[in-house]
């Protein structure tokens, strides 16, 4: 096997040697006129556009105030599901292409299922999730926790394609195993200099909420106290509710006037491009400032794109692109996120007041705090095309992606119950790819064409972070954590001011080498066959199984000859099918080394310990799970059948794809007997199958030259997933609060089925003189009725059933574009149907007894909890003190339909440049549009807890997602 890949590596070299001897022949048969055309076409292929039909219609979204490719692509392409779990600008969002390939047990697993975004062919590295290992609270990733893709400004984008085709993904390799989004930035252009200027200004407007004060909360709780509370329960009734004369709690509830405010957002960018046939350039730069209406959260970005292309010789073309940006975030000020960052839980028994004045006093204190979040990132590509022969091209390129994040935090003592806190994070992800590719086209006037490519890619990733946390500084004026720098002092390198400092750092490496051979065969422009063979070697797979061989093949046939295209109802009809196997990369090096040793000092509520008695420790990874030898590559198999039909001279285009995606041999923790100390054993063998149908309909309904034009499109994806295998032939596996069962979907909830309340003693079933028990505790009056599914007269984990789906069954969008003379009007509707959410917010509100007694972050009362965000008519009154924990979230009582339809955007623009008076005066003006847009306008849903989109990827609605508030913008777009 090793010999084979070596051979594959050497092959292109051989080609080069042969080629260099042929130079003489090539150079003598050229002719000036041919040169120019040739050069032009060669320049155009310097950056490879994939040429798929599933691309984003940039004209429809270019005026909208979007920040990230995640927003740009949402609803644009069938099969791509984008979920914004948080309206806070600049936070990570979730995407999947053609369904979930890996179960989501916690938020950090979401990164495993995301497609990769390529900018000019450079895959953007996602932040490695290894920081979660030291995070006691995993609400956010450590550091700036920013959207990795927010560095790509829409004004710099030339095209966005969503790649789902198996063979195309296989050509991109393991990084594209979950699908790919292929972005090309605007490239230099020969000819007259083009200048563009865009700008918008907008306002984000507060949502309407119903604030409440302690009176409401008191009424809410009294119903439990009067029905079930004992005397001692009454004695420990929370103090802030006890005193109805306390103006802070029983006074006006108007916190929302400070918390939600109109916030401006704006953007301006300028671009210029031009050049000659031998060299051209493009430069774009701009600034974006985007505020959310809630909690003064804000995102700012500077971006710059620079591109130069040159052709010193006809046989030698080169290009360089640098896309760089710097962004900063003002994050939310929720208590949960703050104490989560500080990994310190102070006394939470007294909540924030619902009163605006008190809240503003708190915000004044907050002004002393520092919370700087900075991300600098960029992608660079340097690419060279060398034409040995007219049809033999050698490409070599170096792609670099770099992203660094800083977070500096200082919370004054008044925010942290007299104990100030500071932390500093610096982390980076660095990736480079060195690729070489030799392409040979056999292009004859005869009926067939052949294209062969041979290439190799070497990729090196480095992920690092260092983090320090310090508590209890001397005062609130010293806001940084420094050490004594003078080596003559006794406290050399000791923290100044008696701070309690903990430090962590870690690194993770990933390297991959791939060699591939691909071929394409075309017959009479009607039949197209593509095939690929590749070897991928990864540093995170054990040496004896490091190399994975994966093939891919596809074929496409045009049923209607090009000549007869315009006749009849059917103007075009293509049938295609493809299949590919692609390795799935693992981003942790632990699997590669087999049995290993780690520092296993953590316990349930403490995860950051690194020593015992000051000494480093090493033990088997008891908590993380045993890793044996024989860990292998996980891989995915994509298959699809595609129909593409055009009707009525292509005024109506319909594309239908059926797909099957199998993510095989993935690693999952499997329980082992506890008597060896291990929590689990990590094994390959989890397989998930996604199947679905995608439909895209695009119609030009009205095409009048002078009158009203109306284009419409509809796309949707129907998807379902199924677990097909578990390691060791297991049939089911419970991981935390999730259960995986072979044959069932992986996004199902595992719940008790609620059947009402035990109102009276006689309602409680009795068998052999014993009452029905919940895990050994007899049910009492006031407890919920949970169905005994297996009829064994006890309620336990075996009585939980699989219910609902966290992922929608049907996702899609439809859009309309109207244009009449100089006016353009566009709408986008977005919908997701057939999924459910577990309303954790409601559960925590009702389970106040357990949440507040344990003084954990689950019982935190945020200022925005002083509103009617839970529909209290929906839930029965149980005894909240009961040992069966009646309001546990894992029951179908809290399961709700989360389907929704949204009017996502409306935009209206008017192009002045088309006016003849303007045209006469400014000859060079190509476009001068004024536009007005609105986003996040309307939502239709049955969900009781606010916006159904603000749900964590695992289907839990925590109520912490900031709202996606309606935004109105006005702007101009000028092209000269």
């Amino acid at each position: 096997m090793k010999k084979l890949w070596c051979f594959l590596c050497i092959m292109p070299l051989f080609g080069q040697v042969v080629a260099s001897t042929n130079i003489r022949w090539q150079d003598t048969v050229q002719d000036q006129a041919v040169h120019e055309i040739l050069l032009k076409s060669r320049f155009q292929t310097l950056y490879n556009k994939q040429g798929v039909k599933d691309s984003v219609r940039l004209a429809e979204i270019e005026n909208l105030p979007f920040l990230s490719p995640v927003h740009y692509t949402k609803g644009q392409v069938a099969g791509l599901y984008v979920q914004e779990a948080n309206g806070e600008p600049g936070t990570p969002k979730n995407m999947t292409i053609r369904g979930l390939g890996t179960p989501i047990f916690s938020q950090k697993d979401a990164v495993q299922t995301q497609p990769t975004i390529y900018v000019n062919g450079v895959p953007i590295a996602r932040e490695n999730n290894f920081t979660y290992a030291i995070q006691q609270y995993q609400f956010n990733r450590l550091g700036p926790a920013a959207d990795n893709f927010a560095g790509i400004d829409l004004s710099t984008v030339a095209s966005i394609e969503v790649i789902k085709d198996p063979v195309r993904l296989a050509k991109l390799g393991p990084l594209a195993a979950n699908g790919a989004i292929w972005i090309l930035t605007k490239a230099g252009k020969e000819g007259r200099r083009e200048i563009s200027f865009n700008s918008y200004f907008g306002i984000s407007t507060p949502p309407s909420v119903t604030p409440v004060n302690a009176q409401y909360e008191n009424y809410f709780r009294q119903q439990f106290y009067s029905k079930y509370g004992s005397l001692s329960d009454r004695l420990t009734y929370p103090g802030y509710l006890n005193d109805s004369t306390n103006i802070n709690y029983y006074g006006p509830a108007n916190w929302n006037q400070s918390y939600y405010q109109n916030q401006p957002l704006y953007n301006a960018n300028l671009g210029i491009r031009g050049g000659s046939e031998r060299a051209n350039f493009a430069f774009y730069g701009g600034y974006t400032n985007n505020g959310s209406t809630a909690d003064e959260t804000r995102f700012r970005r500077y971006h710059a794109l620079f591109n130069v292309n040159m052709a010193p010789f006809e046989w030698f073309n080169m290009g360089a692109v640098v896309n760089a940006n710097r962004n900063t975030r003002d994050r939310n000020r929720s208590l949960r996120d703050r104490f989560g960052e500080a990994a310190y839980v102070p006394d939470l028994s007294v909540p924030m007041s619902p009163n605006r004045n008190v809240y503003e006093q708190y915000l004044d204190v907050y002004n002393q705090a520092i919370d700087d979040n900075i991300v600098n990132s960029g992608q660079a590509l340097l690419t060279f095309d060398v034409y040995f022969l007219r049809n033999l091209k050698y490409n070599t390129s170096l792609g670099i992606d770099y992203s660094e994040g800083y977070r500096d935090v200082f919370f004054p003592s008044s925010l942290m119950e007299r104990n100030n806190y500071m932390s500093n994070y610096f982390g980076y992800s660095q990736r480079y790819l060195y690729s070489n590719k030799l392409t040979w086209d056999y292009d004859t006037p005869s009926a067939y064409q052949v294209n062969l490519s041979l290439g190799s890619i070497y990729q090196e990733d480095l992920y690092r972070y260092s983090y320090a946390r310090a508590y209890d500084g001397p005062n609130d004026f010293v806001k940084i954590n420094v050490v004594e720098g003078n080596s003559n002092e006794s406290g050399y390198l000791q923290p100044v001011g008696g701070l309690y400092v903990s430090r962590w750092s870690n690194r993770e490496d990933y390297r991959m080498h791939s060699v591939y051979l691909s071929g394409a065969f075309r017959y009479k422009n009607r039949l197209e066959v593509d095939a690929l063979l590749r070897y991928d070697g990864s540093s995170t797979v054990q040496p004896d199984s490091r190399w994975l061989f994966t093939p891919a093949v596809s074929a496409k046939y045009d049923m209607i000859e090009k000549e007869s295209m315009t006749h009849g109802l059917l103007s075009q009809f293509t049938i295609g099918a493809g299949w590919a196997r692609i390795g799935k990369p693992t981003m942790t090096s632990r699997y590669a080394i087999g049995p290993n040793y780690v520092a296993d000092l953590a316990w349930g509520s403490e995860s950051g310990l690194v020593s015992y008695n000051g000494f480093a420790v090493a033990s088997r990874p008891y908590s993380e799970g045993w890793i044996g030898y024989g860990m292998d590559w996980p891989y995915t198999e994509h298959a699809s059948v595609d129909l593409d039909a055009g009707f009525l001279a292509n005024r109506l285009n319909a594309r239908l794809s059926g797909y099957l995606k199998k993510d095989q041999n993935q690693v999952v923790p499997i329980p082992v007997p506890a008597e060896y100390g291990y929590d689990s054993q990590l094994l390959n063998g989890l397989s998930v199958q996604n199947s679905g149908l995608e439909l895209t309909l695009a119609a030009q309904i009205l095409t009048a030259e002078k009158g009203l034009k109306w284009n419409s499109s509809l796309n949707f994806n129907w998807n379902r997933n199924k677990l097909t295998a578990l390691p060791n032939g297991l049939q089911e596996l419970a991981v935390g609060q999730r259960k995986l069962q072979v044959g069932h979907a992986i996004d199902q909830f595992w719940l008790f089925e609620n059947k009402g309340t035990y109102v009276d003693q006689v309602d409680i079933p009795v068998q052999n003189g014993e009452r029905l028990q919940f895990e050994g505790v007899p049910f009492e009056v006031g407890d919920p009725v949970w169905k005994d599914q297996n009829g064994d007269f006890k309620i336990d984990q075996d009585d939980r059933v699989m219910r609902g789906h966290a992922m929608p069954k049907l996702v899609g969008a439809f859009q309309h574009n109207f244009s009449y003379q100089n006016f353009d009007l566009a709408f986008q509707f977005y919908f997701a149907l057939g999924h459910q959410a577990l309303n954790q917010r409601a559960s925590s509100k009702y389970d106040f007894v357990n949440n507040e007694a344990s003084n954990s972050l689950a019982g935190i009362r945020e200022v925005f909890h002083w509103q009617q965000d839970v529909d209290i008519r929906k839930y029965p009154i149980y005894n909240p003190w009961s040992a069966v924990v009646p309001y546990r979230v894992e029951q179908d009582l809290f399961l709700e339909d989360a389907s929704f339809l949204k009017l996502r955007s409306v935009s209206l623009s008017y192009d002045l440049a088309k006016l003849s008076t303007v045209q006469n005066r400014f000859k060079s003006l190509r476009k001068a549009a004024l536009f007005i847009t609105g986003t996040n306008l309307l939502t239709w849903t049955k969900f009781s807890g606010g916006d159904p989109e603000l749900i964590d990827f695992d289907g839990y609605y925590s109520g912490y997602g900031l709202p996606m508030a309606p935004v109105t913008t006005i702007g101009v777009k000028i092209e000269l």
Binding site: S456, V501, W603, S605, E606, P673, E675, F774, G776, V885
Partner: protein, 511 residues
């Protein structure tokens, strides 16, 4: 023209050849480039090579034991909350433990029925015993003496983990090897007597090898001097004290007498001494503080070394305003109980100061408030910390000299050596400033010894086990008699543990 063409040709050839060479260099080294050294975890071939590996592995066992004992406040919930003097303020989950509803579905109760963390200690210790001799061959800095001490510690810790588990679950599977092969065969439960016999045999063997002190005089242990190790590692006295407890738990008081006597007679060789209450409880220099005081068996969490934490210490359960900022403690000893237990006002632990007339605050703060705060152990940060930042650095003290003296008194009282029993009981009583026990005057001797344990060891995780031993001796408590008879003194085995091993059977009482 011809010339430029030629130049072009040459540069093209050069370009090509440069690439040929570059690619050759790259591909030939590629497979090697894919070998990376993980920074997250140590590979098998890098471990057990040097003296620093044995130190890391040994400290790892202690670290795992610390995690096992403090996760979910296990040591105190097992020992002090179940039928204990401590009652929860408002936590329903701890209330369930207090009322012996050990199968309640609260996460903490479920987690406390899981023995995995103790078996991690067992596995790590077995692995150490098997692999450490390898280092002796490879690294000349690692001496026979080091190996002897280290293996003896690993054996002691493994025996301790088994003893701890038997007290909680009764019969537990006995694994005496690490089986470090990834096969994970299912093993059934072994009768508790067999397990304890194994523990006893291991402790006896380890006791022969363990020193009284590490790095005494000019000697060094792992390159560090006496003060680094004092009170940190298990020593010969620890092994004998454990032996005494293992025997006493089984009711083998004759054996227990021999072991306890050895521990007491030789305690001074390990610099283990008795302390007055202020010295014992001093938050910076006392026995619970990160001092270098020797003790029989304790686990460290030193603030100075960065191991102080906000959870996993009894302070997180018991302290409240004004000592820390939180309003109410999780558990507290009600006033009635305090008044019932501490009967003599001269008691330096809790009593009334005869000079100032004030209530002594060694054990309790704010006794006159609604909820007395149990502040016997309050090591905030390094012990001198204020209420601002409540992380705690106290030691988990399993046994100290006073505990051993009272155990010895108990043993002798059971064996009928009343004079010896009274002598040791009165050592403690004298030290605490209360009147001595005089035979024939102060009621029942055994009652009095257990009452003294209740006072002296409050908050140290002994109360539940003392009640069981007391009930076994006296058989005068119908509730406990029934629990003992039905094996209800044990905890249920977690459902998760049962599911992982089909050979395990739930404790009868909880079935």
């Amino acid at each position: 023209m011809e010339k430029t063409l030629k130049k072009m040709r040459i540069s093209k050839a050069i370009f090509t050849w440069i690439h040929v060479i570059a690619m050759l260099c790259c591909t030939s080294s590629c497979n090697n480039k894919l070998d990376i050294v993980s920074s997250n975890a140590g590979a098998e071939q890098l471990q057990w090579q040097s003296i620093s590996d044995t130190r890391a592995a040994l400290m790892g066992i202690y670290g795992l034991l610390r995690s096992a004992m403090v996760d979910n406040y296990a040591h105190w919930v097992y020992g002090e909350v179940r039928f204990g003097d401590f009652v929860p303020y408002s936590r329903a989950d701890l209330g369930a433990v207090s009322k012996n509803t050990l199968n309640a579905s609260y996460p903490i109760v479920q987690d406390l029925s899981n023995w995995r963390r103790f078996y991690a200690v067992v596995n790590a210790a077995s692995l150490f015993i098997e692999r450490a001799p390898n280092v002796l061959r490879i690294d000349s800095r690692y001496t026979e003496r080091d190996l002897k001490y280290d293996v003896a510690q690993a054996r002691t810790l493994r025996a301790f983990a088994y003893f701890y588990m038997v007290r909680i679950w009764g019969d537990v599977p006995l694994l005496t090897r690490s089986y470090d092969d990834g096969l994970f065969a299912e093993v059934a439960r072994t009768p508790e007597n067999t397990v304890l016999a194994f523990a006893e045999q291991e402790l006896l063997a380890a006791a022969q090898d363990l020193p009284y002190v590490y790095a005494s005089g000019s000697q060094q242990y792992y390159g560090e001097g006496y003060s680094t190790w004092a009170g940190v590692l298990v020593n010969k006295i620890s092994a004998y004290a454990l032996l005494a407890h293992v025997a006493a738990w089984q009711g083998k008081y004759l054996n227990a007498e021999i072991y306890a006597r050895f521990a007491l007679e030789n305690a001074s060789s390990s610099a283990i001494v008795a302390y007055s209450v202020p010295n014992l409880l001093n938050s910076t220099t006392g026995l619970f503080a990160p001092s270098d005081k020797n003790q029989i068996l304790a686990l460290r969490a030193s603030y100075v070394l960065g191991e102080a934490t906000s959870t996993g210490h009894i302070e997180s359960l018991t302290l409240a305003y004004p000592l820390v900022t939180r309003a109410n403690p999780d558990i507290y000893v009600p006033k009635d109980t305090i008044n019932k237990i501490f009967v003599e006002s001269t008691d330096t632990r809790f009593g009334i100061d005869t000079v100032s007339g004030l209530i002594r605050t060694n054990y309790f703060t704010d006794f006159n408030g609604d909820i007395p705060i149990f502040s016997k152990i309050r090591v905030i940060r390094d012990g001198s910390g204020d209420a601002d930042f409540s992380i705690f650095g106290s030691n988990v003290v399993f046994s100290r000299l006073e505990e051993m003296q009272l155990l010895y008194a108990e043993i002798n009282a059971v064996l009928g050596n009343n004079d010896e029993a009274i002598k040791y009981l009165n050592y403690v009583k004298f030290n605490r400033g209360i009147s001595p026990f005089i035979a024939g005057f102060g009621g029942d001797l055994i009652d009095e010894i257990f009452l003294e344990r209740r006072r002296e060891l409050m908050g140290e995780g002994w109360r539940w086990y003392d009640q069981v031993r007391y009930a076994r001796i006296k058989k005068n408590n119908p509730i406990l008699n029934k629990l003992i008879a039905d094996d209800g003194i044990f905890w249920p085995i977690a459902a998760d543990v049962l599911k992982r091993n089909s050979k395990l059977i739930q404790n009868d009482y909880w079935r």
